[in-house]
C-alpha cells in the first residue's frame, strides 16, 4: 500500500473518535480557537453510548435516562458546530508521527477513497469494543454482543430478534434486556456468571453509594423491572452452547463455578433466536500500538491500556489519548478525560499557557477522581470468572473466527512447536489473529491459551503486533484483498 496520493489536508488537532471523550475535547479545543478535525467511522457522532438514529429518522423521547444526561448535553453542544472539520464514515487506518515536532500524518479510509490529514497534534479517543466469549456455537448467526443488540435498538430502532437469552458478567446486560423487553421482545433468561452474594458484598462496602452510581442504579432498576415481568435472572450460570443449524434456535445454560467450570449435568435449554453475550469491554488501542505507544495489560480494566501522563499524553510525541482506551471508566469519565487531554494538546500547540491549562484542569481532575472510584467498583463487580472461555470451548470451537482456526488445531500446532512462547509467534504459526478483525476478537484468547499450555503468567505472551493499515482498506471483490 502506498501513501495516499492527494496532498494532506492540514489541521491543528485531529481527534480520532467522536464519542464522549472526542466530543468533549473538540468542544474545549474549538472554544480555545484551535483548528479541529474529528474523524469517526460512524455516520453520526456520539460514540457507542449514544449511537444515534440515521438522519431523517425521528425518535420522540430518545434515550431519556439519567445515565445519558451529561453525554447528551455534550453532543448537543458540538454536533452542529460548523467550525469543526467533520470526517464521518471515515476510519483512521494509520498514524505516522513525523518526529521532531513535525506533527502526525493520519490516513483515512473514506467513502471517496484513501485520504491523508496532517495534524499538529492528535488525540486518540477510539473507545472500546465488547469482549467476546469463545463457547461452542459462538459463530452461529444470532449470537451477538449484548451491546450490539442494544445498538440495533438505540440507533436503528430495530428489535433485532424475537426471543433473547443474555449471558455474561457485566450489569449492562440488565439494561439491554430491559430495553429489548420495552421494545417488544421476549426475554427467555438473563444469566450472570457471578453468584449473587459476590456483588452484594461489594455493594455493601461503605465506599459505595449505590444511588450515586448511575450505571449501577440503572442496572438495579432494570433488574426489578425484569423480575416483575417474570423474566428468570439466574446467578452463577452461563450460556455454554448455542444450538442451531443456520442460526440460533436455543441456548444451553448451565451453572458455573468461580473458575468458570460448567456443571453440564444441570444444564437447561432455552428456546430463543438470539443470544447476547456481555462480558464487558476491550479497549481499542490498535492505532496507538501501531504508532508505537507504550501499553500495559489489565484484564479487569479492558486489556492493553495506553499509558499516559497527567495530561493524557502517550509515550509518543504529539499523541494524546482519552476515554476508554486509557482504561474502562464509563462515559462520564470519558468526557472529563477528553477535556484534560484537550488542555494537554492545546498546551502543546501553544493555544493555552501552562498556568491557564492548570487552572481549567483542577476541577475536572477532581470530578474525574470520583468517577474513577466508581468505575473501579463497577469493573470489580463485573469481572468474569478467570477461565470461563478455556472451560467452555470444545475442540471444534473456533478460536479465530476470521481465519477458521479451531481450538483443537491451535492446541496441536502449539504443542508440536515448543519454541513458540509469544502470541505473535503463535499467530504466524496458526494464522489465529491474522484475519480481517486483526485479532481484536481472538488475540486475548490466543495469548491466554498459549500461556496456559506453557505454564506462563497472564500477559507473558505479549500483545499481537499491529500492522498498518489497522483496518483492511478497500475490501475488494475477494475478501481479504487488503492491498
Amino acid at each position: 500500500m502506498t501513501s495516499p496520493g492527494a496532498p494532506a489536508a492540514v489541521t491543528g488537532l485531529a481527534i480520532v473518535g467522536g464519542g464522549p471523550a472526542g466530543m468533549a475535547a473538540a468542544r474545549l479545543a474549538v472554544d480555545h480557537g484551535a483548528d479541529v478535525t474529528v474523524i469517526d467511522e460512524q455516520p453520526r457522532v456520539g460514540g457507542q453510548i449514544l449511537r444515534q438514529p440515521p438522519r431523517g429518522v425521528e425518535v420522540t423521547d430518545w434515550l431519556p435516562g439519567a445515565v445519558y444526561r451529561n453525554v447528551r448535553r455534550t453532543l448537543a453542544e458540538i454536533e452542529n458546530d460548523p467550525s469543526v472539520d467533520w470526517r464521518l464514515r471515515s476510519s483512521a487506518v494509520a498514524l505516522l508521527p513525523q518526529g521532531n515536532g513535525h506533527g502526525v500524518e493520519l490516513w483515512l479510509d473514506t467513502p471517496e477513497g484513501l485520504q491523508a490529514v496532517h495534524a499538529q497534534t492528535v488525540l486518540l479517543a477510539p473507545g472500546c469494543h465488547e469482549q467476546p466469549l469463545h463457547f461452542p456455537g459462538w459463530t452461529l448467526p444470532g449470537v451477538m454482543g449484548a451491546g450490539a443488540l442494544q445498538s440495533f435498538v438505540k440507533s436503528q430502532q430495530l428489535v433485532p430478534g424475537r426471543r433473547f437469552v443474555l449471558s455474561g458478567s457485566h450489569p449492562l446486560q440488565l439494561v439491554v434486556a430491559e430495553q429489548l423487553l420495552r421494545a417488544g421482545a421476549e426475554i427467555a433468561a438473563v444469566a450472570f456468571t457471578q453468584r449473587p452474594w459476590a456483588g452484594l458484598r461489594l455493594l455493601a462496602t461503605p465506599m459505595v453509594a449505590l444511588r450515586a452510581h448511575r450505571q449501577l442504579s440503572a442496572a438495579a432498576a432494570a433488574m426489578w423491572h425484569l423480575r416483575a415481568a417474570g423474566v428468570p435472572v439466574l446467578f452463577g450460570h452461563s450460556v455454554v452452547r448455542a444450538r442451531g443449524e443456520e442460526s440460533v434456535s436455543a441456548a444451553v445454560v448451565a451453572p458455573v463455578d468461580a473458575d468458570g467450570h460448567p456443571d453440564l449435568r444441570r444444564a437447561r435449554e432455552f428456546e430463543c433466536d438470539r443470544i447476547g453475550v456481555c462480558h464487558g469491554f476491550r479497549v481499542s488501542s490498535e492505532l496507538a500500538r501501531q504508532a508505537g505507544a507504550r501499553v500495559a495489560w489489565s484484564t479487569r480494566r479492558g486489556g492493553w491500556l495506553v499509558a499516559h501522563d497527567a495530561w493524557y499524553r502517550s509515550s509518543v510525541d504529539r499523541l494524546h489519548v482519552a476515554g476508554e482506551i486509557t482504561g474502562m471508566a464509563g462515559a462520564d469519565a470519558a468526557l472529563e478525560e477528553g477535556r484534560i487531554a484537550a488542555l494537554g494538546a492545546l498546551r502543546q500547540i501553544g493555544a493555552i499557557d501552562a498556568a491557564g491549562a492548570e487552572a481549567l484542569a483542577g476541577p475536572v481532575r477532581r470530578r474525574l477522581a470520583r468517577l474513577h472510584r466508581f468505575a473501579d467498583v463497577l469493573t470489580r463487580l463485573s469481572a468474569p470468572p478467570g477461565n470461563l472461555a478455556a472451560h467452555l470451548a470444545d475442540d471444534e470451537t473456533l478460536l479465530c473466527r476470521c481465519e477458521n482456526v479451531s481450538v483443537a488445531s491451535f492446541d496441536r500446532a502449539v504443542d508440536d512447536n515448543a519454541f513458540i512462547v509469544t502470541a505473535d509467534a503463535a499467530k504466524l504459526l496458526t494464522r489465529a489473529g491474522m484475519g480481517l478483525c486483526q485479532g481484536r476478537l481472538c488475540g486475548e484468547q490466543v495469548a491466554r491459551r498459549l500461556e496456559r499450555r506453557r505454564g506462563l503468567a497472564t500477559g507473558a505472551a505479549g500483545a499481537l503486533h499491529v500492522n498498518l493499515p489497522v483496518r483492511p482498506v478497500r475490501l475488494g471483490a475477494a475478501v481479504g484483498d487488503e492491498d
Partner: protein, 100 residues
Amino acid sequence: MSMRIEHNVSRPPPVQITVDGAEVEATPGEMLATALLAASRTVFWRDASGRARGPFCNMGVCFDCLVEVHAGGGQPRRVRACLTPVVAGMVVTTGAVEGP
C-alpha cells in the same frame, strides 16, 4: 425474526432494494444489516468451511456482516453491512443461498 420499532418513531418513506434477487423494502439511511435482519435474513456470508455467518459486533470490528453490493455495473464490492447505509436501488448478494 426482527421488527422495526414503530412507537414514537417516524421514518422517511421506504425504498426498494434487491436482496438475493428478491425485492425488499428498507428505510433510506438505516444500515444494510438492519434492512437484512428486518427482512428475516440472518445468514450474511459463509466461511471457507461453508458455515453460516452473520453480524456479531454491529460496530465494524468483526467483519462477520460481509455482503456483496453491486453498484452501477462495476465490480461488486464486499462491505460491512453494519456500517453501510441503505440507498434506494442497492443490489445485494448474501451467503444465504450459496452452498459450502
